[in-house]
């Protein structure tokens, strides 16, 4: 007899996600992912000036704010066939990289590590042994026995107050928690250190973007950062050097803590390389453009069908027709008026039609996007697999380092195939973060070198033609492929669609009733205790779900369900 588990909401994310699972024989046999809020930003944009779209679309969310701003101007620039000054590309690239590093650190330590790390168990740890273990893995300065003793004492004092604060509602003592007290203490220490480090990445975004969350510096045609080497009030030497300082601190933490922790936790939870596979069609896009036209990129991306790396098809420019023509969205299982089959975003419609949660009908505010008819997975794993296929050296180097560390801790060989899993998504995210730190260093150097040549241009003025034009912009955001699609008529927005990473991953069943990536990944997940479905959270959190932008005004219907309170 199958049991139904409903987790609503899945928290530690932005927005509101509901997951339903049928559990039979201790395993998930059927799953549904449902976005429980409506977004509506497309309607707000209709009739507006395309030069304002970026400022409005980035208000979709307070977490990934930069990404919608940048991809929106890319879409409008694409419609106008514009070139963007090199400095503007590089400044945007630095914001993209710094934002991604911030996002990945926060996701791993603050939004998902507690699925694997038992903070209460850390109270039993021996700080000296913890330090010995930590120092055998990494040269990080924050691993010593005094630090571990300090963290443990703090934790003990904290728990004594009777308030777990940030650690309340964790699945402490759950049978699926496998780490030793020492590893738990080490991870908790790094959780706290990560709180300090993540700010450095945000400072880079704030210096370049004038503000975070919600950067203020992008413009259709470039950026609004005046450059001068002899002025304190614009982007000059002083600010560039401050950024460099922050990059170096991030590099130390990411390489010597984050990557090491992911390898270690991955090794201790090696059985989780067998769960969470799901959809193996992987889509990523190239990013960090190195020229004014968007035809050369620092980082490759493309399509891998059915996990076959040999069949990798690269996406190569901001005008790439293969990408442009491949994307469609179905609303057969989403709360929108349909009946026209899957539609290309230029023709996309967002007309609400709420039914109720219907297992075989409509059950989500998230649409179901496909790439040439296939449901695809996006995100760091898609990216790393594309890097493996494209033989992208920095990416492969970081991948080999993480796998190498995990192999030496687990004392076993780990094949590349192990990446198609819950743990694999975490490993891939760490690899991306390591690589992004290097990209950020490079983009900084390229910007400094370009300014040194005397180029201080940051903006080309957009001209809007009479009549209708359309354009698309893509961006490899922290959670995967993000694209905005705009139709402009006589200088005003006629249609606008955002196809966001979590739309791809949290998609409901598609036009052919094929399950979406979250849904497919959950099948086969073991459930030790249906009242405390930690394992479901592990797999869903491994995608780094973020619903605010994936769903299309607030659902005021309060569905009465058996709800499992989930952290």
């Amino acid at each position: 007899m199958a049991n139904r588990i409903t987790i609503d909401p899945i928290t530690r994310i932005e927005g509101h996600l509901r997951i339903d699972c049928e559990v039979d024989g201790g395993k998930v046999t059927k799953a549904w992912a449902s976005g429980q809020m409506w977004r509506g930003v497309e309607q707000i944009l209709l009739g507006r000036d395309p030069r304002d779209a970026w400022a409005i679309t980035q208000r979709i969310c307070g977490v990934c704010t930069t990404v919608h701003a940048i991809v929106s101007v890319r879409a409008v620039e694409n419609a106008l066939k514009m070139e963007v000054p090199l400095n503007a590309q590089l400044i945007r690239n630095m914001i993209i990289s710094a934002h991604a590093i911030h996002d990945h650190i926060v996701h791993f330590y603050h939004l998902s590590a507690l699925d694997w790390v038992d903070v209460v168990s850390a109270l039993k740890a021996d700080p000296v042994k913890t330090a010995q273990l930590a120092e055998s893995l990494s040269t990080w300065g924050g691993n010593g026995r005094h630090e571990m003793t300090r963290v443990k004492e703090k934790l003990v004092a904290y728990v004594k107050t009777g308030q777990l604060g940030i650690f309340t509602n964790g699945y402490w003592g759950h049978p699926a928690m496998k780490l030793s007290p020492e590893v738990n203490l080490l991870a908790t220490a790094h959780y706290l250190q990560a709180l300090d480090v993540q700010r450095k990445a945000n400072k880079i975004v704030a210096i370049l973007g004038s503000k975070t969350p919600h950067i203020q510096n992008v413009a259709v045609g470039g950026v609004a950062n005046p450059i001068a080497t002899d002025s304190q009030s614009v982007l000059g030497v002083e600010r560039l050097l401050a950024i460099k300082g922050y990059i170096d601190e991030l590099a130390d933490f990411v390489n010597n803590v984050y990557l090491v922790d992911v390898a270690a936790i991955g090794a201790f939870y090696a059985d989780w390389t067998k769960y969470g596979k799901g959809i193996t069609n992987y889509l990523s896009v190239p990013d960090l453009p190195l020229d004014t036209k968007g035809t050369k990129f620092a980082v490759p991306g493309g399509y891998i069908k059915g996990g076959d790396l040999a069949g990798y098809k690269p996406i190569t420019s901001f005008n790439d027709a293969y990408f442009r023509d491949g994307v469609k969205e179905s609303v057969k299982h989403a709360w929108y008026k349909g009946g026209k089959g899957a539609l290309h975003p230029y023709k996309g419609e967002t007309i609400p039609q709420y039914t109720d949660f219907q297992d075989d009908g409509k059950y989500s505010w998230v649409k179901s996007p496909t790439f040439y008819g296939d449901t695809v997975q996006v995100g760091p794993l898609a990216r790393v697999l594309a890097w493996a296929a494209a033989k992208y050296e920095p990416g492969l180097r970081h991948l080999n380092r993480v796998i190498g560390m995990a192999e030496s801790i687990a004392k076993t060989k780990i094949p590349l195939d192990a990446l198609h899993s819950t743990i694999g998504r975490h490993a891939a995210r760490a690899v991306v973060c390591g690589s992004m730190v290097e990209n950020l260093q490079q983009q900084w150097q390229l910007l400094v070198d370009n300014i040194a040549k005397g180029d201080v241009k940051t903006f080309n003025k957009p001209e809007f033609p009479k009549g209708e034009v359309s354009g698309f912009g893509f961006h490899e955001a922290p959670r995967g492929v993000l694209s905005h699609w705009v139709v402009i008529k006589d200088g005003a927005i006629k249609n606008y669609q955002a196809v966001v990473p979590t739309t791809w991953n949290a998609a409901p069943r598609n036009e052919q009733d094929v399950a979406g990536p979250y849904e497919a990944a959950l099948i086969g997940t073991p459930i030790a205790d249906p009242e405390r479905p930690l394992e479901v959270l592990r797999t869903v959190h491994s995608f780094d779900p973020c619903l605010a932008c994936a769903v299309h005004v607030l659902d005021t219907e309060q569905n009465e369900l058996v709800k499992v309170r989930a952290l």
Binding site: V106, H110, K154, L155, Y158, Q163, I166, L192, L195, N202
Partner: protein, 174 residues
């Protein structure tokens, strides 16, 4: 070292009285000159972004909508042991974020030496810009209570003269 004090207004101005803390801190900014050791922050609905601004403070004054079960539009002041209770009971809808920030400051070893919460019992939390009339009517008292609290600690918060404000505003509007 000089004292470091923050007056933090938090809340969501899209949800009528939920935004009273933000309206209060903005009124304070508009009507008063504050000394260098005092920082006024419109925290909106942010959370961990506030970490750095709230590190190592001598005094943190939080302005917020407080649901304590009193009559609507009642002025509320919480201090000492009442503050953790305020957070445990989650009297304010967005408090999870701020509670996490304060817990984190505690774990990092640099929490505020003293925290005081000033608030008003909301009348309505419906989706609407602006405060309800009863709460708006008490806003000047809330601001005055904060000014008095600061004054009692020798933090000279001086009212801008009406004439000065009038002189400024045409220029600001231009």
């Amino acid at each position: 070292m000089a004292m470091r004090v923050v007056v933090l207004g938090i809340g969501n101005i899209l949800l009528s009285d939920e935004g009273v803390g933000v309206h209060a801190v903005e009124a304070l900014r508009a009507d008063y000159q504050v000394p260098a050791e005092l920082t006024l922050i419109d925290g909106g609905t942010s959370a961990m972004e506030l970490l750095e601004d709230l590190e190592g403070l001598d005094l943190l004054i939080i302005l917020d909508a407080v649901r304590a079960g009193r009559a609507p539009a009642t002025l509320i002041r919480l201090s000492g042991n009442q503050v953790p209770v305020f957070f445990r009971a989650r009297l304010s809808p967005h408090q999870v974020g701020l509670a996490e920030v304060l817990a984190t400051l505690d774990l990092l070893g640099n929490p505020p030496r003293e925290t005081i919460v000033f608030g008003i019992e909301p009348v309505s939390l419906e989706t609407r810009l602006g405060l309800t009339e009863p709460v708006a009517a008490r806003l000047p008292e809330l601001v005055q209570a904060v000014v008095d609290e600061l004054g009692a600690r020798d933090l000279a918060v001086r009212a801008r003269s009406v004439a000065a404000v009038n002189r400024m505003s045409p220029a600001l509007l231009a």
